[in-house]
Amino acid sequence: TVLVLHEFEELEYKEIAKRMECSIGTVMSRLFYARRRMASLLQGLKREQKE
């Protein structure tokens, strides 16, 4: 959800925190781990495409 709100809805951290009713620190950490997860998925996709 955090990733969608930030990347596609283009909301700022504080706006996301307000909507999700959590702290900005929580938003930042969730976004960070979501990006890491996304990066690993994209890497897997690249490997498949190469093969």
């Binding site: 990733l3 930030h6 990347e7 596609f8 700022e12 951290y13 620190g25 930042m28 950490s29 976004l31 960070f32 990006r35 890491r36 996304m38 990066a39 690993s40 994209l42 890497q43």
Partner: protein, 179 residues
Amino acid sequence: MLAANNDMNDEVALKIQAWVDGELSAWQARGVAKLVESDADAKALATELRQTKAALDKNEMSVALPELREFYWNKIRLQIEREEAAGTKRVSPAASWDPLAILRRVALPLAAVTVAACVAVMTMSQMSAPAYEEVTSTSDDMTALTFHDQSAGMTVVWLQDNSEQPVQDENSTESDDVI
């Protein structure tokens, strides 16, 4: 490849992410920019975050969702309703000749005029009613009975002489009869 963030503090990693997203103040951004330039891990993390961001921004496909039939007709219905609502504010030429509409517009003023006319007629009839003088009889032998009909404009006075011969009033044509 994922950067080795194990050695990097989580707090620093989050700051680098905030710097990439443009969420830091100018002063904080300068500090993180210096760190990214000096530290290889920080630089790798920043690069990776930018690549992930770019992959999501650039590779998003604009998918045209098929419009459902119901949605399509609903749009048309709403448009018609909007136009009708705008159209009722203007009075169409056909509506001005509607007898009911004319009656409604005329009824109230007509009623007011009728009431005013009735009041005027009543007032005038009262004003035009002849004033009659009161006649006082000083005779002890005379008894006077008066009858006044305003609507007919008639006044009858019955005079009775208590002496032997009864006296008739000028208004009556027959003796002892009240007209």
